[in-house]
Amino acid sequence: MFEILEKEMLTPATCRMKVRAERLSAAAKPGQFLIVRADEKGERIPLTISDFDAAEGTVTIVTQSVGASSSILNSYEPGQSFADVVGPLGQPSDFVSMSAEELASKRYVFIAGGVGTAPVYPQVKWLHEHGVPVDVIIGARTKDLLIYTEELGGACDNLYLCTDDGSCGFKGVGTAMLEKLVAEGKSYSRCVAIGPMIMMKFATLTCKKLGIPITVSLNTLMVDGTGMCGACRVSVGGKMRFACVEGPEFDGYEVDFDEAMRRQGQYKAEEAQANEKHKCKIGRG
C-alpha cells in the first residue's frame, strides 16, 4: 500500500499529494510518469511525476478532478493509502543523458498549461541545477488556476505568467507569450510543452513558425503502461509508436495531434456515464 503523506489543494479542482513509494522514488527521472490505482475497483490512472525525493522515499503527483476516477483519487486524505502506485514508466527526458558539453549549448523554454504545469517542475529543476538557462511560461484561464508559480519561480531564470482573462501577468495564451519573447530578442535552442493535447498542438505550430525544436509530453490513454496494451499508440513521423514505453516525450513536429486527440476521446461515452453514476452516489451522500 502506498500511503499519502501530504495533501494540498492547489486550485478548487487540482490536488497535490505526496505519496510514499520507495522503489519508485529511487528510480524516477525527469520526464517519466507513474500509474496510480486508488482501490480495488479503480482505473489505472497514468500521471506525470511532479516531484520525487529518493532520500524521503516519496513521489509527488498533481491531479485535476475531471472525471469520476480523478475525483476519487483527489478524495483521498493523508493517512489513507492508494492500492497501487507503479513506475517510473516511460523514457526520461532526453537531456538527462546529455553530456556536459551538449548541455552547455542549450537554452530551454518551457510552456506549461493547466495541470501540465506540475510535471514541468522536475525538468526545470534538473536543468537549473545543471546550469542550463531555462525560462518558463505558465498559462491558465485565470489567476486562481495558475499553479506551481512559486516552485518554478525559484527554479528557473525567468518565469512568465499568462492568463486568458488578463487577471495575472500577460493577457493571452502561452504561445503568444513565446512569440513576444522571441520578437523581443530571446532565443531558445529547444521548447518543451506540457499541457492539454490541444495546447501542445498549438505550441508545436508556433515553434515551427519560430524555427524552435519542440518536445511534447503525450498524456494518452493507457492501461498497463508497460507496452502491453497498445492503447497509447500514436503516429509519430508516420510510424506507430507506443507513448508508454517509447514516450511519453516525442518530437512535436512529428506528432499527429489530431489523431492523438481523437484517440484520447475514445471512451468519452463510457466516461460520461461513469461521471453521472459518481455524481449520483455523491448526491445520495
Binding site: 507503479v86 517510473p88 507496452g227
Partner: protein, 462 residues
C-alpha cells in the same frame, strides 16, 4: 474391459445462457463422474501421456488414486510436478499433449486427463484445507523471479521447495500474468481458482511483490548487485501486441486483444462496479485464429456485440484449442474463414465503420508445412463493424533485455537461452514465452521447472 466404457461427457453451462454472462462455461466432473472416467485408464506400463506432459505429471498414478476415490492422494501426486493443476486442467491443450498420446485415443476416445486433473485440483481446494505455510530457512540463498505468470510461478515453486528464498516481482497490480490479464473469467475463474493456486505458491514461502516493473522500477543488475539476489529467472512472457500494418489501425474502435482482454479481465470492466471502461460495439470483428482470438471474441459476445472471427486460413488450421472453437461456435460467434483484412475503414468522426477484406485460397505448403493462404484477385469486400480487435500474436517485451547488461536477444526479440534456460549472462536464467515467443501455459511451466533445476545446480556450484 475398461476401454469399453465411453468417455464420460462433461457438463457445460447452456450456450444461450452463458453467452450473456462471465461465469465458467464448463462445470467439470463430480466425484462419481471422475471415478468412472478414471476407471477407463489402462495404467500403461510405458505411459505415453507422461512423456507428452511438459511438466511430466505422473498421470496414471494420479488417475489410479482418483479411480479409487482417494482424491487427496491424487492431488499429492500432481503437486509433485505442478503448482497450477486447477489452471492447467482448464487451459492446457490436452488434445495435443497428454490426451493426444493416450493409447485409448488410437481406436476411441482418450481418457479425459485434463478434466480429471481439474476435478482433483478443485476437490483438493474445496476439501483438502490450506497447505501448511513454509518459510525459507534463515540464510537461504535469495533468487529473484521476474514475472508471476506460469513460467515464473512454476520456477518459484520448485525453487522454494528446494529451500531457496524466492521473491517474484510482478509489474501489474495482481499476480498471475496472462492467467490474470489474458484468460477470461469464463474459462478460468479468478477469485476462486486462480487465487487459490497463487495462495498455494505463497504457502511454499514464495514472496510476490506487485507493482514492480523490472527494467524501470528496479533492474536485474540492481537485484544482483544491491539486493543480495544470487540468481535471477526471467519469465516475463510475450506481452507486446502485434498490429497488421494496414491503413486505419489507429482509428477509434481498433484495439489489440491485449488491451481488450486486460480491460475486461484484470480491470474487470464487465462488472458495473469497476471503473475501467470497455467498448465492444454492436458489431465486432476479431482478427486471428488462436486462443486469444477466441477469448476476445467470446468476451465481446458476452458484452453484447455480434462477433465475427476473421481468419486467413481455414478452420482446420485454426491454432486455437478445439474446445475453444467449439464453445465459441456454440455461443454464436461467426467465423469468416479464408478472409484477410486489407484496410480498416472509418467514418467522418474517425470511428471504425467497416473492415475491408480479401478472400483467400490455400496455395502450396510453406516452410511450416501449412498451405499458405494467397489472396483471390478482385475479391475485396467489406464487413460492416464498429470494433476491430487484433489478435495476431504477441512478442516479448524489450524492457528487460534493453536494460540489462550482457543479455542477448534473437532478431525476433526473444531472449537467447539454452535448453535449461541459461541466458548469455551467468546467473540469469529465462524461460517461457520470453524465450520461445507466444506459446502455452504448460510449456512455460515446463521451462520454468527446467530453469529452477538449473538454478539449483548453478547455486550449489557457486
Amino acid at each position: 474391459m475398461a476401454a469399453r466404457i465411453p468417455r464420460v461427457p462433461v457438463r457445460d453451462q447452456d450456450p444461450g445462457q452463458r453467452a450473456k454472462n462471465f461465469e465458467e462455461v464448463c462445470y467439470g466432473y463430480n466425484a462419481e463422474e471422475a471415478m468412472t472416467e478414471a476407471s477407463r485408464c489402462l495404467n500403461c506400463r510405458n505411459p505415453r501421456c507422461v512423456g507428452a506432459c511438459p511438466v511430466g505429471i505422473s498421470i496414471p498414478e494420479f488417475i489410479a488414486h482418483t479411480a479409487a476415490g482417494d482424491f487427496k492422494a491424487a492431488a499429492g501426486v500432481i503437486a509433485r510436478d505442478s503448482s497450477l493443476p486447477a489452471v492447467c486442467g482448464r487451459v492446457c491443450p490436452q488434445e495435443t499433449q497428454c490426451e493426444g498420446s493416450c493409447i485409448l485415443g488410437v481406436k476411441g476416445e482418450p481418457v479425459a486427463i485434463g478434466k480429471l486433473e481439474r476435478f482433483v485440483a478443485d476437490w483438493n481446494r474445496d476439501h483438502g484445507g490450506p497447505s501448511e505455510k513454509m518459510q525459507p530457512a534463515p540464510g537461504a540463498k535469495k533468487v529473484a523471479v521476474i514475472g508471476s505468470g506460469p513460467a515464473g510461478l512454476a520456477c518459484a515453486s520448485d525453487l522454494a521447495k528446494a529451500g531457496y528464498d524466492v521473491t517474484i516481482f510482478e509489474a501489474l497490480h495482481k499476480a498471475g500474468g496472462v492467467l490474470e490479464y489474458g484468460i477470461p473469467e469464463f474459462r478460468l475463474p479468478k477469485d476462486t481458482v486462480l487465487k487459490a493456486e497463487l495462495d498455494e505458491v505463497r504457502a511454499l514461502g514464495v514472496k510476490i511483490e506487485t507493482d514492480v516493473v523490472v527494467g524501470r522500477t528496479i533492474t536485474i543488475d540492481g537485484l544482483l548487485d544491491n539486493e543480495g539476489f544470487e540468481a535471477v529467472f526471467i519469465g516475463t512472457g510475450a506481452g507486446l501486441p502485434k498490429f497488421m500494418g494496414i491503413p486505419g489501425e489507429n482509428l477509434n474502435g481498433v484495439f489489440s486483444a491485449n488491451e481488450f482482454l486486460t480491460r475486461n479481465n484484470l480491470m474487470k470492466a464487465f462488472r458495473e462496479d469497476y471503473m475501467t471502461p470497455i467498448h465492444a460495439g454492436k458489431k465486432c470483428c476479431v482478427v486471428g485464429g488462436g486462443n486469444v482470438a477466441m477469448d476476445a471474441a467470446r468476451t465481446a459476445l458476452r458484452l453484447g456485440a455480434e462477433t465475427t472471427i476473421v481468419y486467413r486460413r481455414t478452420e482446420v488450421e485454426l491454432p486455437a484449442r478445439v474446445e475453444e472453437v467449439h464453445h465459441a461456435r456454440q455461443e454464436g460467434v461467426e467465423f469468416a474463414m479464408l478472409t484477410n483484412p486489407v484496410e480498416i475503414l472509418g467514418d467522418e468522426k474517425g470511428w471504425v465503420r467497416a473492415l475491408k477484406c480479401v478472400k483467400m485460397e490455400l496455395g502450396e505448403p510453406d516452410a511450416s508445412g501449412r498451405r499458405a493462404p494467397v489472396p483471390v484477385e478482385g475479391s475485396e469486400f467489406e464487413i460492416p463493424t464498429e470494433v476491430v480487435i487484433m489478435a495476431l500474436g504477441t512478442s516479448p517485451n524489450p524492457l528487460i533485455s534493453s536494460t540489462t547488461k550482457g543479455l542477448e536477444t534473437t532478431r525476433r526479440g526473444c531472449l537467447v537461452a539454452d535448453e535449461v534456460g541459461a541466458t548469455t549472462r551467468p546467473g540469469v536464467f529465462a524461460g517461457g514465452d520470453a524465450v520461445t515467443g507466444a506459446a502455452t501455459v504448460i510449456l512455460a511451466m515446463g521451462a520454468g521447472r527446467k530453469a529452477a533445476a538449473a538454478i539449483d545446480a548453478y547455486l550449489k556450484k557457486k
